[in-house]
Structure formats: structure tokens, C-alpha cells
């Protein structure tokens, strides 16, 4: 008896070093190539070997907005994984494991779940092949066409020779055959895919790709999770893409190199996490004062301080807003989807040069590190607007910081004859001559301050109007930003199926902010609930600050794990049933599904886990 589902949860779980990312990524890609929509979120800890890793893969016939919280197929590479997730497998699901490594007691798995333990050593004679053998078994129970997965094995190992490819094929086939002989097909099946060709990428890869498309020629970084994969993607493609990538000694050097490169005339960008951005802040103001166009990607992780290095959070908004002393024009963009990671990186590079300002591109771990399918990217209509540039002055006097109507002064690059000037982080006049050394010069100070700040007028006017997504007669408006946006989209869809109408306000242009338009827009909302991954409700506070609108109700999460759609939907339903009349704040915590006295295996290679 089999049942067809629109989407399925397939989790690959084990210790770091078990090769989970590699097999999970291959499976995700194979599903994408088969025409399914995929969302793969890898939950991991800050340990290189050992520790716990779980790749949550969700495949769907339609777009899947989040990693989902339903588990149907579990590939357990250690006993820890069974202890954590065994009881979360839905009836009709399958648990696949390597029975050379550990045994499973019936009470560890929910009733109605098929358990297949593969004797990996006996089957393939090499424990390193356990991933592939288990994948073979998975393809049997899922009943999916194995052609694309095998194609990926071929692509991945072709360089290492036919023998390696064959070994992998054999392991896959042995796993498949073992499951066929010793098990039965899984009862939960995914419906047919539309077979369309799509892309699979991570948010960070798309920020890197967006940088190339947007004409970025220089990227600097210091390694820091979860921003490092932008560095890795760009440096891997540096020569082909014509982007000079520099790893620096610290984030202070990173941003100053970026400012230096931009000053000399190339599009320049850097990336970091919240902690690295904290080190960069003085130079954000430097870019503002010297009117040097730079883009800084800030990928948030759990804070404060070193915080949760491999976990997600949205708690750096006020750090971005307040970065650096004094006042200067800047922009903060916060992509919410993978296509926006691409398009808004290009947009950030354009805004930076058009207005000669620092632009911060704010992402978070959940958006940056997940892999997701997307329909496509527009690479043919990319507009690069380098702003006002002057290539020769022809003997005319040149003023670098000319006070213009828009506040934007045409730039020349060093090396241009007859236009030498000095730029300074001290307050300066239109020629760049510092006024900090004179007794006082209120007139020049005011003129230059106003010239710089005036750039925000045109920038703000150029930004799209804020909008509500979803039915105008919604009973509830959900407010969020960044990676939480897709959680809200899925909640909207799930609730909509149950006849509950909600709409969404999720701004992606955070600074400058259309406060008045937002106030007008939100005045139509019947009731508002802000959902964000932090403790203090930063986007709500910011919206109030900029628009005067108070959002009365808040749902937060600061346990490091992304929002789970089931928890969010349940909360909204309970909330609507209660219809609270006074302000509310609640927080969600992910259920680890562990017995209260569970203690995880600390070291790799340990055979037994204590489950009392």
C-alpha cells in the first residue's frame, strides 16, 4: 500500500566527517535534475570531525519554502541520529542504517516505520562506502529513478578514474539490491515531478555569483562562518570570473583593502559574519566620509560575541544601522530569497557606486548556507551603473567633493592626469582639504554634511514602495525579514488551505526606509504579528522607529535553529483563536526529540551511545 505525497522529508544524519554533506548534496542535485523542488538545510556544529550533523532535505512537486519539519526517510550514520530522530519518522517512513556500526531497539522507532539495516562490510567490503550503499537503499524504498544520481557519481569521480566510479556504482547497486531483497518499497512516495530543468544553489554561492554579474572585481574576506562560502565560491572561480580575491589578516584589513580598491577604481566588496562586521565598523564610516563605494555582505549567525558559530539568527540589524560613529549616508539591503541573494548583490553594487556610499547586504545563516532550487537567474539583462565618472579633466579644475544638487560628485580615479586630490577621513572641503586643522569652520562643515546626507533623498525615492503580499482582507498581517520571509510564505499557504487569510509585510530595503508609506500600508492591517529570529524583536522596533507603527504581537526564536513551519502554523492558529487584546511576546524552541537524560557521543568511532 503506498501513499503519494506532494513533498517528503529525507534526512541524512551522522557525525561530522561521515560525508553527509557530499552525499546529501548529490542527492539534492539529483532530485533537482529529476524536476523536483528541493530545500536542503544542513544543521551542524562547530566541530571538524565527530559532533553531530543532520542534512534536512525536503523534496516537493511544487516549490518548498522551508526545510520542513516532517521526517519520512532517515539515513542514520550513527546511533546518535537514531536517538535524536528515530521517533520523529512518520508512520509509513523508513529508517536506513549501517548495521555493522550499531543496532536499533524497536522502542527507538515510531510504530509503522520500516527499519532496514545494511551489512555494509559484507556488501561492499569498505565502510567508507556506507553513504553510497545507503543511498542505493534509499533509491529502492523511494522508488525514484536513479539515473541522475548515478550521473552525478560519474561527474564527481570521473577525474579519479573509471575504477573509482565503478566502485561507487557497485556500492550503490548492492545497497539497492539489499533493500529490495530484505525490505519492501516505502509506503510514502513523492508524486510525479514536472521534469523541468532548474538550478540548485546556496545563498552564499548566489551572492558570489551576483558579485561577478554585478561587475565586482575585488573581494576581500577573513574566514568566518557563515560567510566563508562566499569567499570559497569566488576564489574557486576567481581567474575565470576576473575577480581578485584577497584573504586578509583580519576584518579591519579586509574592509580597508576594499575601500582602497574601490578608491582606485574597481567595484569592490567584502563579506563577513556579525563578529567580523563588528571589527569593520570604523571603516564603514570611512567609506561614508570619503564617499567610497563599497559593498559589505554581513551574514548573521547566533550572537552575541562568538555566540553560535554554526547556527542562525537575525539579531544584527541594529549593529548594521549603528555601525560607525557619526552620521553618513549608507544603504542596507536584506535579501529574503535565493534569487534575491543574486539580484540584490548586483543592486547593492550599483547603489554603492551611484551614490558613492557603503552598502550593507544583510543575510543570515539559514538563507546563506541552505541549498534550494530556483527556476533560473537573469544573466542577460544585468545592468551595471557605475555612477558619475570622469575619465579626463582636460585642464579644467577638478573638485572631488563638488557640492552638487544631488550630493553626488563626479569621480576620477587616481592615475588621471591633472586631477590630483586628497580624500580624507577628517572633515574636508570640496577639494578634499581637511578643515579639522583650522580653529573652526561651521560653514564648510554644514555644507559638506548636507552634501553627503542629501544623497539619501534620491536614493530613498528610487526604492520600490513597500507592499503587503496576500489578501487585502486578511485577519492577520505577518511581519518578518530575511530568511524568515519564506517561513511566512509557507505559513500563509498552509493557513490559506484551511481558510485562514493572512498577508505578509517583509521589507527588503531596510535603510533608508520608507517610513511614511509603511505607516500608511500597515494602517490597513487588522492585527499584526512579527516573527523574527532574535530575542528583542529588532525589525518591529525598527518599523516603529521609522513609521510610528507599533506591532503589538511578537513571535521570536533565538535557539539557533531556524523556524519550523509546524510550530509557526500551530502558534498562529492558537494566537488567532485567543485574539489577544493586549500585547504578546512568545518564543519557540526546536524540539531535539531527545530523552531528557540523553548524552551524545563525544568522540567519533565510539560504538555505543548511552540511552537509558
Amino acid at each position: 500500500m503506498s501513499e503519494t505525497r506532494a513533498d517528503l522529508g529525507i534526512w541524512v544524519s551522522g557525525a561530522a566527517g561521515d560525508g553527509i554533506a557530499a552525499s546529501g548534496e548529490s542527492f539534492s542535485k539529483a532530485c533537482t535534475r529529476t524536476g523536483y523542488h528541493v530545500f536542503a538545510y544542513n544543521s551542524y556544529q562547530s566541530v571538524i570531525r565527530g559532533g553531530h550533523v543532520c542534512m534536512h532535505i525536503r523534496i516537493g512537486q511544487q516549490r518548498v519554502y522551508t526545510h520542513g519539519d516532517k521526517l519520512h526517510y532517515l539515513l542514520a550514520l550513527n546511533q546518535d541520529s537514531v536517538a535524536r530522530y528515530g521517533k520523529r519518522i512518520e508512520p509509513g517512513g523508513v529508517l536506513l542504517f549501517n548495521k555493522d556500526k550499531f543496532q536499533i531497539k524497536p522502542e527507538q522507532v515510531a510504530p509503522g516505520v520500516q527499519v532496514i539495516g545494511l551489512p555494509v562490510m559484507e556488501l561492499v567490503g569498505n565502510q567508507l562506502m556506507q553513504n553510497i550503499a545507503l543511498m542505493g537503499a534509499l533509491y529502492f524504498v523511494l522508488g525514484l529513478d536513479q539515473k541522475e544520481f548515478k550521473g552525478l557519481i560519474q561527474e564527481r569521480f570521473a577525474k579519479k578514474g573509471e575504477a573509482i566510479v565503478k566502485t561507487n556504482f557497485d556500492a550503490f547497486d548492492k545497497g539497492f539490491e539489499y533493500a529490495k531483497t530484505n525490505g519492501k518499497p516505502g509506503e510514502l512516495r513523492i508524486g510525479k515531478s514536472d521534469g523541468k530543468r532548474r538550478l540548485l544553489a546556496s545563498g552564499n554561492a548566489l551572492i558570489g555569483f551576483g558579485a561577478v554579474a554585478g561587475g565586482c572585481k575585488f573581494y576581500a574576506a577573513y574566514p568566518m562562518t557563515p560567510a566563508s562560502s562566499i569567499l570559497h565560491w569566488l576564489v574557486k572561480n576567481a581567474v575565470k570570473a576576473g575577480v581578485l580575491v584577497k584573504q586578509a589578516e583580519d576584518e579591519i584589513a579586509v574592509i580597508n583593502m576594499t575601500v582602497g580598491a574601490a578608491h582606485a577604481g574597481v567595484r569592490a566588496m567584502c563579506g563577513t559574519a556579525g563578529g567580523g562586521f563588528a571589527l569593520m565598523t570604523e571603516a564603514v564610516g570611512e567609506a561614508g566620509m570619503t564617499e567610497t563605494p563599497i559593498v559589505v555582505a554581513e551574514v548573521q549567525r547566533g550572537g552575541p560575541s562568538t555566540g553560535l558559530p554554526t547556527k542562525t539568527e537575525q539579531a544584527d540589524l541594529f549593529q548594521l544601522l549603528g555601525a560607525s560613529q557619526g552620521e553618513f549616508p549608507k544603504a542596507i539591503l536584506a535579501p529574503r530569497t535565493l534569487p534575491e541573494c543574486y539580484s540584490m548583490t548586483i543592486e547593492a553594487l550599483n547603489l554603492a557606486e551611484k551614490y558613492q556610499i557603503p552598502v550593507m547586504l544583510c543575510s543570515d545563516l539559514y538563507l546563506s548556507e541552505r541549498n534550494e532550487t530556483l527556476d533560473g537567474l537573469d544573466i542577460t539583462n544585468v545592468k551595471i551603473d557605475r555612477g558619475e565618472l570622469v575619465s579626463e579633466v582636460n585642464g579644467k579644475p577638478y573638485r572631488r567633493f563638488l557640492d552638487t544638487k544631488t550630493g553626488v560628485s563626479p569621480r576620477v580615479f587616481p592615475g588621471t592626469p591633472g586631477a590630483t586630490y586628497v580624500t580624507a577621513t577628517d572633515e574636508h572641503d570640496q577639494d578634499g582639504v581637511v578643515i579639522s586643522d583650522v580653529f573652526t569652520n561651521p560653514a564648510v562643515r554644514v555644507k559638506m554634511m548636507e552634501k553627503r546626507m542629501r544623497k539619501l533623498d534620491a536614493l530613498l525615492a528610487s526604492l520600490p514602495e513597500p507592499e503587503l503580499e496576500g489578501p487585502a482582507d486578511a485577519v492577520l498581517t505577518l511581519v518578518g525579514w530575511g530568511s524568515t520571509y519564506q517561513v511566512l510564505l509557507e505559513a500563509q499557504e498552509v493557513l490559506g488551505r484551511e481558510g485562514i487569510k493572512v498577508n505578509i509585510f517583509a521589507p527588503k530595503y531596510l535603510y533608508p526606509f520608507k517610513g511614511e508609506a509603511t505607516a500608511k500600508l500597515l494602517s490597513k492591517a487588522k492585527m499584526m504579528l512579527a516573527i523574527e529570529a532574535n530575542y528583542t524583536g529588532q525589525i518591529s522596533k525598527y518599523i516603529r522607529m521609522e513609521s510610528g507603527v507599533t506591532i503589538q504581537h511578537h513571535l521570536h526564536k533565538y535557539d539557533g535553529e531556524p523556524f519550523e513551519i509546524g510550530q509557526v502554523v500551530d502558534y498562529i492558529k492558537q494566537f488567532l483563536a485567543k485574539k489577544p487584546t493586549t500585547p504578546t511576546v512568545a518564543s519557540l524552541v526546536s524540539d531535539e526529540g531527545l530523552p531528557a537524560d540523553f548524552s551524545p557521543i563525544a568522540m567519533p568511532g565510539a560504538e555505543a551511545v548511552r540511552v537509558h
Binding site: 555569483f209 576567481a238 589578516e249 579591519i252 578608491h263 580615479f413 587616481p414 592615475g415 577621513t425 582639504v433
Partner: protein
């Protein structure tokens, strides 16, 4: 024919204290650039913050008067973006050896073709006389009323051990000699440090012009072999009654720009086109 030195005269008259050592450094730099027949628009002078970091405002060239301690990363970015520019970095001992010393260490390792001139007055001048990393032990300053407890840092030894390929020390009381050292530094293909004794006449009453005049000697007068790393290192620790100035060490090593993959064709990054035609092939990895 060399460029007229007047070409390098800035729009702003220096406002350093009368007698400040930095005047001599400014003149020596202008003289060196003129002698080397470099056009002002092909020079980018980068500085940090401090009395000496005001120098870009006093010379006619492109200039970037950046944050305290951050001149080297700014210069690095600019050099990588346009390695055809002559990049000269100027600053003081607090800026370069204190707050910016991390960048100094790594910039030496990288061997960019640029010149770093440090006006070393062994004091924080602009903040009115606190101890700097090169203030000698036991010297009383505004921030060390009972004397400095730390030993001072040796910029020459640090530069040598971190991989700088041209390491020299000058004295602003020896103008012609200093100019030769700076000229050599600019001509050298690689990272050059010129540490300059540039007395602060207002806040450093210990390391004065007469104090240096009594002690400095020229390495070339003692037949120092500037290709000998060990000999250079040994001389770098000489301090007290006899203090060496001149070229400690010079070696040829490929520059960072020579080895950076995206610059191998020799075309400066700023002149390289955006690789829009590569997008489709780059996107293939997502398929």
C-alpha cells in the same frame, strides 16, 4: 629630465611645529619623486592618522588620508586594483607600529611593490605626548609619568623578519642621505620600509636632533653588506651610543602582484573588463 620638484608642491602649506622632523621627510620624498621623473598623477600617497599622516595634504599627488593605523590595507587595496600606480605610504610610529602593527607584519610578508615611510619620533605627538611603541624604556611621557615599563619595538628587525625586501633607516637631519634612501625604496621592486628618525621638537625631549647627531653613523661607511640578512639583523639591534642609518637589507623576490593569478597578464585590474560572457558557464555548476 627629472620632473620639477615644484610639481610636487601641495596646495596646503604644512602646519607641523617649527623644527619638526617631518618637514625634512616631505622634502626628501618630493625630491626623490622628482629625481625619478614620476608624474604627480601617477603617485598615490596613503596615510593613517597622526601629525606625520597629514603629509598627503602637503604634497601634490593623489592622496588618501585614511583611518588611524589603516594606511597599509588601504594602500594594498589600491595597489591590487591598479598596480601601475606608484603607491607611497606615510605615517608615524604610533600609527604603523602601534595600532597598525598587525597590518605592517602582513604587508611585509606580501611584498607588494610599494614604499612605506615611517616618521618615527618615538612619541604620540598629535595626542600631546603619550608613549609610543618605539619610546625607549624608562622614558617619562604624559602617559608614563614614572617611565615606560615595556621595552621598545625594533621596526627594522620586525620588517626584516617579516619579509620586507628593502629595509632602511634615515634621519631627517641628513636630508640628502634620506632622499637617496627614499629614492632607492621607490625604485625597489617590492615592499620597502624607510624608518626615519624624525624628531618631535615639542613632546620628545629625549630623542632630539643633537641626541641623534651624536649617535648616528652610516652603514655604507662601515662597509655593511646589505645583501647579508644575518648582518642586517645584527645591525638592527644596535642602539645606544652608536645607531646605524642607511640601507640594512635589500633582496629581490617576486612581488605579490607578480604572482597574483588575476594579474598575471600584467593588465591592472582597473583596466580589466567585467567577464559578463562567463556568466553562463559559471552558472553551469548550479545545474
Amino acid at each position: 629630465m627629472p620632473t620639477n620638484i615644484k610639481e610636487f608642491q601641495g596646495a596646503v602649506k604644512p602646519d607641523w611645529c617649527p623644527g619638526c622632523g617631518d618637514y625634512g621627510v616631505l622634502n626628501a620624498l618630493q625630491r626623490s619623486l622628482a629625481d625619478l621623473d614620476i608624474a604627480p598623477h601617477n603617485v598615490l600617497v596613503v596615510s593613517g592618522i597622526g601629525c606625520s599622516s597629514n603629509l598627503p595634504g602637503f604634497i601634490r599627488a593623489y592622496g588618501f588620508h585614511s583611518l588611524h593605523g589603516r594606511s597599509l590595507p588601504i594602500a594594498t587595496g589600491a595597489k591590487l586594483a591598479n598596480h601601475a600606480l606608484n603607491v607611497v605610504v606615510t605615517g608615524g610610529d604610533g600609527d604603523g607600529y602601534g595600532i597598525g602593527v598587525g597590518h605592517f607584519v602582513h604587508t611585509c610578508r606580501r611584498n607588494f611593490d610599494m614604499t612605506y615611510i615611517v616618521m618615527d619620533n618615538q612619541i604620540y605627538g598629535l595626542t600631546t605626548g603619550q608613549a609610543s611603541p618605539t619610546t625607549e624604556k624608562d622614558i617619562r611621557t604624559k602617559s608614563t609619568p614614572e617611565g615606560v615599563i615595556e621595552i621598545s619595538l625594533s621596526p627594522i628587525a620586525l620588517a626584516l623578519t617579516c619579509g620586507a625586501t628593502y629595509v632602511a633607516r634615515g634621519f631627517s637631519g641628513e636630508a640628502a642621505h634620506l632622499s637617496q634612501l627614499i629614492k632607492g625604496a621607490i625604485e625597489h621592486k617590492g615592499f620597502a620600509l624607510v624608518d626615519v628618525f624624525s624628531p618631535c621638537v615639542t613632546y620628545n625631549k629625549h630623542n632630539t636632533y643633537p641626541w641623534f647627531k651624536e649617535r648616528v653613523y652610516k652603514l655604507e661607511d662601515e662597509k655593511h653588506d646589505s645583501t647579508n640578512f644575518q648582518a642586517a639583523l645584527q645591525r638592527s639591534f644596535e642602539w645606544g651610543n652608536r645607531i646605524p642609518i642607511g640601507l640594512f637589507y635589500k633582496v629581490d623576490r617576486p612581488t605579490y602582484e607578480d604572482e597574483e593569478p588575476t594579474l598575471r597578464g600584467g593588465v591592472p585590474l582597473v583596466k580589466q573588463a567585467v567577464q559578463s560572457d562567463k556568466l553562463a558557464s559559471l552558472m553551469e555548476e548550479f545545474l
